[in-house]
Amino acid sequence: MRIENLTVRYGAFTAVDDVTLEIPPGAIVGLVGESGSGKSTLARAVSGLVPHTGRISDGRRVQMVFQNPYASLDPRMTIGQSVAEALLRLPARERGAEVERLLDLVALPAKVMGSYPRELSGGQRQRVAIARALGAEPELLVADEITSALDVSVQGAVLNLVRELRAELGLSILFISHNLAVVRYVCDTIAVMHGGRVVEEGPAERLTTEPAHDYTRALLAAVPRLTT
């Protein structure tokens, strides 16, 4: 999938400014930047939630997982019903088994199908949101800050899940985060956004060891490190 010259404007303000980005099949592309950099707007534009100009080729089946797991599930629907919404194309009687398979894929027991979102922890809800997105058989999964509302001890498990899903399903993922260490760990290539533009792009390892752009260097320098 290829994003070409994508621009999003809100009135006079340009949130995303002429961004071109390639997401190869089966790759995890990371998008880092600080608040206001336009990374979340880009995610929403790619997902078709925000009007934009520019071209997105082969971007037909895109699903997004949102940052806040407490707002992305309808509080009045059971987990089973929420996930089944992704399966409306299937005959009703086949949906139950498919929901079970999807929940299994994100390592949730089938018994959560009858639960309501409020009965689940943040990490579990985020898994449900991922399962629902996978139900639509996306060509691209957009993950917008999916671990930033989670506690550290849960975050690791969700990041592992993202990597496993890519390995097992060959999924392409656009992974958005403000945390450079998280993006470095999860992604194959990284694009750094600043002021609505991609200022640098490259393989994760190279970009984090030999940054070319000043802003990338500033970001890298700001990452808190444990001294050994």
């Binding site: 806040n68 009045r76 139900g135 639509a136 690791g156 403000h178 990452v223 444990l226 001294t227």
Partner: protein
């Protein structure tokens, strides 16, 4: 307590409903019976509330009028609710211009009081119940329309609706499955209040002689008839007045109770906890802060902080780290004396040597006041400074934390500064005195990493310059590890380990180790999965006798389940 008032409302309304059904059947004949020998009488044994100009018994008429009064109010409410809900939903389906027109009209109409609209309609339709009901219905509608609009807009903007849209769920299904169920409840809650308001407005119209006309009568009309006589026999107005007031109060109480029930979680009854006498123990002469056996308890056995001990040396930066619910922020609040009611703080020792300053997130500045004034008041209140001196000092401190233009920034409101500048101002506020200890509660959590870095640097500079110690509270072990000299790790209200920051990678407690391993940093091996901790931290009321971490711990033994490990040699673990 409020449920009781809701119950009272329910009883009143139920009684009125029964009256509305039964009244005409029982007293219908009595209410219409004229008696030319008993015209315009006051209260008597035969007529407790007197008689009207045709000798009819007023009490009977009041009891009969309930049906018509309630029926009219119900009709007006339903008209208003249906029209309003449709009007409110229209902008969602109309093209943009039409939607704006509807929204604008609704917004303009919301401001118009019901009685005014009802009078307008009364002029057009002539006097009578029909005009009044239509008018009040028209007056109720804009409120419902506005409510529907706001609710629909907030639901339509919700992430779960975006998710459904991306899944290709059809529009009508989104409306039926997601939007309607999530807005129906508040709309229904609003009906009770609208019913009360309609009844009062209709009564008002009838009382002015503009509503119900004879031979029909509702409570308002009876009041209209009785009003001129109140100078002679006030009791003739008493019946209808009492019923109108009762109905208004009944519906309102129910409405209030419904709204509150939908909103609030159970509040537990307060419970007194006796503070144990402070044991005389030897005091650490070198500590700026020394805490022993600090416990914070809330009613219902909720104990977020359990026997915590902590010492901070002068000039030391200590990080207090833990996940949400570990009790770290309440520990800070307890040290600062800021635990909210009904929390109870007990400790064997809580010694603070010198002045304390507390630093919170940048959002903690008062949005309504100028930055300089918020700093200056510390000096005027505590140091007896004049306003001019205090202001000068505030500007000086703002310069100290390196705001670009302190004199101007002091005159600005918080929203005119960036997040990083606001955070600097909050730190400057802590420096208005001469603090020996600064407690910083998640001061950088809302900030971007580059700004966070500047703030951490500033904190370190403050320590070097003033010699103050810092207790830095954070959920982010990486930030704590970078900033602090020493790290104290909390889990389920207790300290599980404390260690020098540069030893974090050699932590001994399995929880600390798992925390560090589950956090990727710039040198994490990308080919291996991250560590993660199964399960979740127990809630503050559900911490058992054994080690609180045991259920999630790979090393846990039977002993860990049964017996809590004490903090020995800076680590609380049987297996470490």
């Amino acid at each position: 307590m409020r449920n009781r008032s809701g119950l009272a409302g329910l009883v009143i309304v139920a009684a009125l409903a029964v009256l509305a059904v039964v009244g005409p059947l029982v007293w219908g004949a009595e209410a219409e019976r004229m008696d030319s020998t008993a015209i315009l009488q006051g209260a008597s044994a035969a007529h407790p509330l007197g008689t009207d100009n045709l000798g009819r018994d007023i009490l009977a008429r009041v009891l009969v009028a309930g049906q018509f009064s309630l029926a009219l109010a119900l009709a007006a409410t339903l008209i208003g609710a249906v029209v309003g809900t449709v009007l409110g939903a229209l902008p969602a389906v109309l093209p943009r211009r039409g939607a704006r027109l509807v929204t604008g009209t609704v917004n303009a109409l919301v401001a118009f009081p019901g009685l005014l609209l009802a009078m307008f309609v009364a002029v057009v339709t002539g006097l009578g119940a029909k005009g009044a009901v239509l008018g009040i219905g028209a007056a109720v509608a804009p409120g419902f329309a506005r409510l529907t609009q706001t609710l629909a807009a907030s639901v339509a903007g919700a992430d779960y609706v975006s998710a459904a849209r991306m899944l290709g769920v059809p529009r009508h299904r989104i409306l039926v499955r997601h939007v309607l169920p999530n807005i129906a409840e508040p709309l229904i809650l609003n009906l009770s209040q609208a019913m009360g308001a309609s009844l009062l407005a209709l009564s008002g119209m009838s009382f002015l002689g503009l509503g119900v006309q004879p031979p029909d009568f509702d409570w308002g009309r009876l009041l209209f008839d009785g009003f001129p006589r109140i100078y002679v026999s006030p009791e003739v107005a008493l019946g209808p007045a009492v019923f109108i007031a009762l109905a208004g109060i009944g519906f309102n109480l129910i409405g209030d109770a419904l709204v509150k029930a939908a909103r609030r979680a159970a509040v537990l009854a307060p419970e007194k906890v006796a503070a144990p006498p402070a044991a005389e123990q030897e005091r650490d002469p070198h500590a700026v802060l020394e805490v022993r056996d600090l416990t914070v308890t809330f009613p219902g056995g909720v104990t977020p902080v359990r026997g915590l001990s902590l010492a901070v040396a002068p000039g030391e930066i200590v990080g207090l780290v833990g996940e949400s619910g570990s009790g770290k922020s309440l520990t800070a609040a307890a040290i600062g004396g800021l635990v909210p009611y009904p929390g109870v703080v007990t400790s064997a020792r809580l010694d603070l040597d010198g002045e304390l300053a507390m630093v919170f997130q940048e959002a903690a500045l008062n949005p309504a006041l100028k930055v300089g004034g918020q700093l200056a008041e510390v000096a005027t209140v505590h140091q007896g400074a004049t306003r001019a001196e205090a202001w000068a000092k505030a500007v000086d401190r703002l310069g100290h934390v390196r705001l670009p233009d302190p004199a101007r920034n002091a005159r600005q409101h918080p929203h005119e500064l960036s997040g990083g500048m606001r955070q600097r101002a909050v730190i400057a506020m802590g420096l208005m005195g001469r603090p020996r200890l600064i407690i910083a509660d998640e001061p950088t959590t809302a900030l971007d990493v580059t700004v966070q870095r500047q703030i951490l640097k500033l904190l370190r500079e403050v320590v070097e310059e003033t010699g103050a110690a810092v207790l830095f509270i954070s959920h982010d072990i990486a930030v704590v590890g970078e900033l602090c000299d020493r790290v104290v790790v909390m889990y389920a209200g207790r300290v599980v380990e404390q260690l020098p920051a540069d030893q974090l990678k050699a932590a001994r407690h399995p929880y600390t180790r798992a925390l560090i391993d589950s956090l990727p940093d710039m040198s994490t091996d990308r080919s291996r999965p991250l560590a993660s901790i199964p399960g979740r931290q127990p809630a503050p009321e559900a911490v058992g006798d054994g080690c609180a971490f045991a259920p999630r711990c790979p090393l846990a033994t039977a002993r860990c389940q049964a017996e809590r490990p004490p903090l020995v040699d800076d680590v609380a673990c049987w297996e470490a």
